[in-house]
Amino acid sequence: MSLADLTASELLDTLGRGEASAVEAAREYLALIEQRDGDIGSYLRVDAEGALAQAAEVDRKREAGEELGPLAGLPVAVKDVLCDSAGATTCASRMLEQFHPPYDATVVAKLKAADAVLLGRLNMDEFAMGGSTENSAFQVTRNPWDRGRTPGGSSGGSAACVAAGLAPLAVGTDTGGSIRQPAGLCGVVGLKPTYGRVSRYGLVAFASSLDQVGPMARTVRDAALLLEAIAGHDPHDATSLEEPVPQYAATLDKPLEGLRLGVVKEHYGAGLDGEVESAVRAAIAQYESLGAEVREISLPHSKYAVATYYVIAPSEASSNLARYDGVHYGYRTDQTKMVAELAAERKALSDAGDEAGLAQLDTALVRMYRKTRAEGFGPEVKRRIMLGTYALSAGYYDAYYLKALKVRRLIRQDFDAAFEQVDLIASPVTAAPAFKLGEMVDDPLAMYLVDLYTVSANLAGIPGISVPCGFNTAGLPIGLQLLAPPLKEARLLRGAHMYQQATDWHQRRPAFSATPSE
């Protein structure tokens, strides 16, 4: 059996017992990436040299009997949105193609301290904006189950990488479903922790009050292992919670006695794919057979979640992305060309005697900003910056941004009330399985509506997990989402693990031809 067939937890044990070395494990994964990723496109950059050096260092430490971190020798791949001083952090954007952060994100620092072996950086939608990874400025990522379809997004690289077996563990980020949705579409496990559970320091911000970093893996046990390593209070993040990190992996096998599982009545309306609905209902029935009590609950404001999200997230994004102005880091437009262009415009206006036009003409500085940002950002990022700028601008603030903040509280209160009655909430992750590449690129609103089941958890700040719960007739994975009250990740993981103990959806693997396709 190959090391790459093992789950992360199994691999950790194997390495711990000295039955294989970290270098062997890294080599095996690097070979698989070489062989398969041309087809999938999950990695933006593979750091073979760095990974092998880290692996060798772990082996040396083990040999010398030195203390080892909790992920010693485990290969991990990271979404290209978390700063790593070892190289570039691009957010899949032209804007940051040349950006080399002089510091490590807290999560990256924790992975290094845990003796993980960092394989490389994963593709994503530009600045984590999107649900198909098609907004990457650099490459397309394909769903390992059907190469003509999207892996979802924005952590599509992370989900595809784990599904294709190109890393046992991956780190993703989730602002409106960006971990859970691609996990669901690729048939892997993805967890978005409680807001504040994992540090955001070094995570390039999309929407600061919604962003969270989380684990992606093949099994719930592996997700628990990775979460435990990256969670915890960080003095560099004022919004991180000062709560001790439970031993998620160690308590995983304790079954949830008398589990009350909530089913949201608003979730099963028009638009939900029939095969998805039956898979989710079957999963709920599975819980019942495991002794859970299923209760119907209501989240009356859930239908406003997408609208609320698409005001708050773009508003924050428009502000967070203002810093990309070509001055202190990142891309800048060709200044000579820009100056010449401006001079030509000035001359034309002047020749035409157009005083008003001249008064309106950008200064060189303003034109530098505008061209830099026009050339550095892709269309979806521009769309969201525009939307957010509009929502915050004079005259619209109260109607959009402030209104959305109020509805956000109502959404949170719906959850607070629901969790009085139930321990976990079960739902679909998406209304349909993976869609075709290119299918929605020209219809942003339709793309936004894909986030229907996932955005509420970000707005409310609660944890959620996506676990595989079946396949449709075309062989595409279907995901089940479980949601828990704030900081109840242990309960969430135990609930999801309980399901995986009783099912084998998560053990299925997509097919790969034996020879690398070109």
Binding site: F99, P101, Y103, S208, A238, A322, H328, V366, S393
Partner: protein
């Protein structure tokens, strides 16, 4: 002359708080470092970085707000003020918008020379925000690039906004001086205008009467005011300029309406030319799109914490002036001179006054001799050569008659030179009391030797006796000139 208009002035003061590190990162706030040597990923605004608030900055801001008699709301938060400028690396400034940390305070101003009536200037709000960096543009190079230095980026600033309660340049200056004094007394800032730790913008307009109608001219905000003198000059210039502008636009009614409806304008003060100039502004530049900063937690300050801050405040300048008047019998002018020199000098004075038991004499010594020496030496009271205890000894020695006041300055110079106490100075100068009979003998001797002077005095030229005083001093340096004069006149009168 009764003025044709009233000048209405509101001031916005920005003061850098005296923390060691910046507001949201731990880079040094030291002034004067080489460009871009005091920056880190956070204050450069690099992707992924997050702000964490400096506790001391908040405490200093709170102390200031309490000293300015502001209300401190229990809940306050920080907002992003968004605009593009190369010295603002995040594309937004973290500031406070609708829920500032303090509001509704006041500062009292008065003029020792009575140029205006004492008044209370109301303060709208004081809020905590981050400073921007600096853009350096080489004017000579014309269209060359500007250079950006981010060392100052993120330094904590308190913005203090007054109501438009001032009515003259003198009042505006008094407000700034009193503000600076207060801030220095409570130790929240060094208020160095040259280094930019105290900055000021002035909002100026005119109120006037036009055919029985009250008119307010459009408000002008004046920027680039780099000294208190510049504030005074700019306000005076601007008032005159606005009045001229009003006269040019007051008729016909259509022109007047158009003029009065003009939005607030920003003008920059050109100190060398002594004029204000309009600054170029984009129409959209004022849409700052404020919204709560999701990266920062709000701050909750309970009433008992505010009370503790209030109780821990040192004595403020106004209270100190009052105490010097009531307990030490000093006039407004003297109290002002002392208090305006700063707390250390006041403490010195208090020690001299208390040690000597003669607050008036102590005040004369401190405000005249001590301040003169400090000025000559360009030094401060903590480096001064005569300790408060020794100066008190000197005052006491004069009062006790141990030291003739005629020789007190000599003694002071000796004490200043070698740090000695008054007794040692007296010994060193050989000062001793001359008893009156010895002095009378001396005078008889002098009169006998100078019959011409005696005759002159007898002829009514009393001033002739002056020549004898010099001779007496030569024979005995301790001879008190007044006494010599008095004895000589008495003896001549007796017909010696």
């Amino acid at each position: 002359m009764s003025n044709a208009y009233t000048t209405v002035i509101g001031l916005e003061v920005h003061v850098q708080l005296a923390t060691h590190s910046k507001l949201f990162c731990r880079c040094s706030t030291q002034f004067g470092a080489e460009p871009n040597t005091q920056t880190c990923p956070v204050c450069i605004g690099m992707p992924g970085t997050l702000p964490v608030m400096n506790r001391q900055a908040y405490q200093l801001a709170l102390r200031t707000a309490v000293a300015l008699n502001c209300d401190i709301p229990e809940f306050t938060k920080w907002d992003r003020k968004q605009y593009y400028y190369p010295d603002l690396p995040k594309g937004y400034q973290i500031s406070q918008y609708d829920l500032p940390m303090s509001d509704d305070g006041f500062l009292e101003i008065a003029d020792a020379k009575d140029r205006f009536e004492p008044k209370r200037v109301r303060i709208i709000r004081a809020h905590l925000e981050e400073d921007a960096g600096k853009s350096i543009h080489d004017e000579a190079a014309g269209k060359a690039d500007s250079e950006i230095d981010l060392n100052r980026t993120g330094t904590p600033l308190l913005e203090i906004v007054s109501q438009p309660d001032m009515r003259s340049a003198a009042e505006a200056r008094a407000y700034l001086e009193e503000m600076k004094l207060l801030l220095t007394y409570i130790g929240v800032s060094d208020c160095n205008m040259q280094e930019g730790s105290l900055r000021c913008d002035a909002n100026v307009n005119l109120h006037l009467d036009h055919e029985g109608e009250s008119i307010a001219t459009p408000i002008v905000e004046i920027k680039n005011l780099n000294s208190f003198r510049a504030v005074e000059r700019a306000i005076e210039y601007e008032a005159a300029r606005q009045y001229k502008e009003w006269q040019e636009n007051s008729e016909p009614p259509k022109a007047r309406q158009k003029y009065l409806a003009r939005p607030k304008q920003t003008r920059g003060w050109d100190d060398a030319a002594g004029v204000t100039r309009a600054q170029r502004e984009k129409e959209e530049s004022s849409d700052y799109r404020y919204f709560p900063d999701p990266d920062l937690a709000p701050v909750i300050t309970k009433g008992d914490e505010v009370q503790a801050v209030r109780e821990a405040l040192p004595e403020l300048p106004a209270a100190l002036r009052e105490r010097l008047g009531e307990d030490y019998g000093l006039g407004t002018y003297d109290a002002d001179v002392l208090v305006n020199q700063g707390r250390a000098l006041v403490d010195y004075y208090l020690a001299v006054a208390d040690g000597s038991g003669d607050p008036k004499a102590a005040c004369n010594w401190v405000t005249q001799d001590v301040l003169r020496v400090l000025k000559d030496q360009e030094s401060t009271i903590d480096q001064f050569g005569v300790s408060a205890e020794n100066l008190a000894g000197l005052v006491k020695a004069i009062d006790d008659g141990q030291l003739p006041s005629s020789r007190a300055r000599e003694a002071f110079e000796v004490m200043l030179a070698d740090g000695s106490a008054v007794d040692a100075a007296i010994t060193k100068l050989g000062i001793e009391q001359v008893d009156e009979s010895a002095l009378e003998d001396l005078c008889r001797e002098l009169l006998a030797a100078n019959p011409k002077i005696v005759a002159d005095v007898q002829d009514g030229k009393q001033q002739a006796v002056g020549a004898l005083i010099g001779q007496a001093k030569k024979k005995n340096p301790n001879a008190d000139p007044a006494l010599v004069r008095q004895i000589c006149l008495k003896l001549i009168g007796e017909g010696v």
